[in-house]
């Protein structure tokens, strides 16, 4: 019993300590962004490795998710003779939920894990320490551009995911199952609201981009500088990002759409 309480206390204390370090890290990173602005080259390089290199996985996944939505949606809607509404169903589910959430999960797996491993290894090979001794602040030079790149790329990737997904839904619904082309688009245009659906979806992906980049970079920076430490940090990035994205999605959805 005593042992249990002791462990509980220890865990709580270390989680709060970590939260404190993470917050300090975040504020340091955010102040560093002002130094990135006059040096766009640093940012462009990171947007390439964080954003552009995630294009393929986002495109392909978006296509398949959209095709599955088209197929499942058609099966259900046709029971009610409402297969013309397939466009609305596909677009609404993608723009509101699946676009931001699934692309954030993919982003955490593709770019987040890479960021953690990169920063963790830079720490393990004393590159960060070496930079400090060269009077260069590693957070400003290394972390801030990557953070900004992740934060900017996420909404764009989510938008791409939704757009490709809608095309996937169209491909299956209109191309293969015979839903009327005009009705597919017209109903979508009539029902999808810019403010309600699109802006809310973008807000979600902005929040997810912020959180996933923060988690990935902090886990790398806070990693124990050994091979095992970096591998654990990478795992924690993916697990914690997935958990945070899904939990935040519920909270944001409740605030945006729910009357809770």
């Amino acid at each position: 019993m005593f042992q249990f309480l002791q462990n509980l206390g220890k865990t709580t204390r270390s989680s709060f300590a970590k939260l404190g370090r993470a917050s300090f890290f975040l504020s340091h990173t955010l102040t560093g962004i002002s130094d990135v602005v006059p040096r766009p080259n640093l940012l462009i390089k990171q947007v390439y490795s964080v954003g552009v290199l995630s294009f393929l996985i986002i495109t392909i996944s978006g296509l398949f998710v959209g095709m599955v939505l088209g197929l499942q949606g058609f099966n259900i809607l046709s029971d009610f003779g409402a297969e013309e509404s397939l466009g609305v169903m596909v677009a609404a589910s993608l723009v509101r939920e699946l676009g931001p959430v699934v692309s954030a999960l993919l982003f955490a797996g593709r770019a987040g894990s890479a960021l953690t491993a990169e920063i963790g290894l830079m720490k393990a090979t004393e590159q960060l320490s070496g930079m400090e001794m060269m009077a260069v602040d590693p957070i400003k030079r290394i972390i801030s551009p990557r953070f900004l790149a992740g934060f900017l790329s996420m909404p764009l990737l989510a938008a791409l995911f939704s757009a490709i997904g809608i095309m996937g839904g169209h491909l299956v619904g209109v191309g293969m199952l015979g839903v009327d082309d005009g009705a597919f688009w017209a109903q979508m245009q009539a029902s999808i609201d810019f403010q309600e659906d699109i802006i809310n979806g973008v807000i979600k992906s902005v929040v997810f981009g912020f959180v996933v980049s923060w988690i990935a970079l902090f886990e790398g920076y806070d990693a124990i500088p050994t091979s095992e430490g970096v591998s654990r940090a990478t795992t924690r990035t993916v697990v914690n990002s997935a958990f945070s994205v899904l939990a935040l999605d519920f909270i944001l959805t409740a605030l945006m759409f729910g009357d809770i």
């Binding site: 830079m122 090979t125 004393e126 590159q127 320490s129 070496g130 930079m131 400090e132 001794m133 060269m134 009077a135 260069v136 602040d137 030079r141």
Partner: protein, 272 residues
């Protein structure tokens, strides 16, 4: 020698330094002085906190007690900005080299100049080539760090450490894991850079031969205290058994060959 020199002659002076990691005391009231323009070595067995000492001097760690002055400034009283200014005047050579792996040799050496100066690229090129020439690697400027041998990586790191013409360079175990030729090259480089650039060098090492060959003054650390100091000649003739064991690399002496353990026979005959 070093201790009798006037304060202005000391680029680094450490007084009464104590530092512990968890329950382990790494330094216990250590005081030492590093004279300007000289090569000073800090020696001791692995795990005595020699690297920690360099991190304390560079302000990456803060001591529990005591003070460290570098070039007249109290390192741990400085604001972040002032500390960074001071660090521009210190070079440090890490054991691993700590080269930035996503940049070529050329860009690594140019890195501190690009970060801290507004020199035009043409002038940076001249400076980088000069620094690389000084370490004999002008021809390797297009290679990436993963294409370098250990000895070359350390020389590139050395070129980068002198990029901003610092006042002093701290070498962390420069000879460890090097083949005899690289060792020879590094010994020669450290000595010649010290004279030609008018630097002060601090070498942390446990390689007795190489270090004794170039050091003007040596401090021997063990168990958190300085247990011997003097010129290499003085230390060779030291009457401390411990220093003798260290300088000659004897397997047994005041430092026992066996890690402390219960009696051998009892241990073998014990059932569990």
């Amino acid at each position: 020698m070093a201790n009798s020199a006037s304060p202005e002659d000391n680029i680094v002076s450490i007084s009464n330094l104590s530092f512990s990691r968890g329950p382990r005391k790494i330094f216990d009231a250590v005081s030492l002085e590093i004279q300007r323009g000289k090569v000073t070595a800090i020696m001791g067995p692995s795990g005595t906190g020699k690297t920690t000492l360099l991190k304390l001097i560079g302000g990456q760690l803060a001591p529990d007690r005591g003070q460290i002055h570098v070039d007249g400034q109290n390192v741990h009283r400085l604001k972040t900005r002032e500390l960074y200014e001071l660090r521009k005047r210190m070079g440090m050579l890490f054991q691993s080299g700590a080269l930035l792996t996503d940049m070529s040799v050329y860009d690594n050496v140019a890195f501190p100049m690009r970060e801290h100066t507004h020199l035009p690229e043409s002038m940076i090129r001249t400076l980088v080539l000069m620094k690389l020439h000084a370490v004999g690697l002008r021809g390797a400027r297009h290679l990436m760090p993963n294409e370098l041998s250990g000895g070359m990586a350390r020389r590139v790191a050395l070129a980068r450490a002198i990029a901003l013409d610092p006042l002093m360079i701290m070498y962390d175990e420069p000879f460890t894991g090097q083949d005899p030729i690289s060792k020879g090259a590094l010994v020669h480089l450290i000595k010649s850079l010290n004279t030609t650039l008018g630097l002060t060098s601090i070498i942390v090492s446990h390689d007795v031969q190489e270090t004794a060959a170039i050091a003007d003054y040596i401090y021997v650390l063990s168990g958190g205290k300085i247990i011997g100091q003097g010129t290499p000649q003085e230390l060779q003739q030291s009457d401390s058994e411990w220093v003798q064991q260290f300088m000659h690399g004897d397997a047994d002496g005041p430092v026992h060959f066996h890690y402390s353990a219960p009696d051998y026979l009892d241990d073998l005959l014990a059932s569990k």
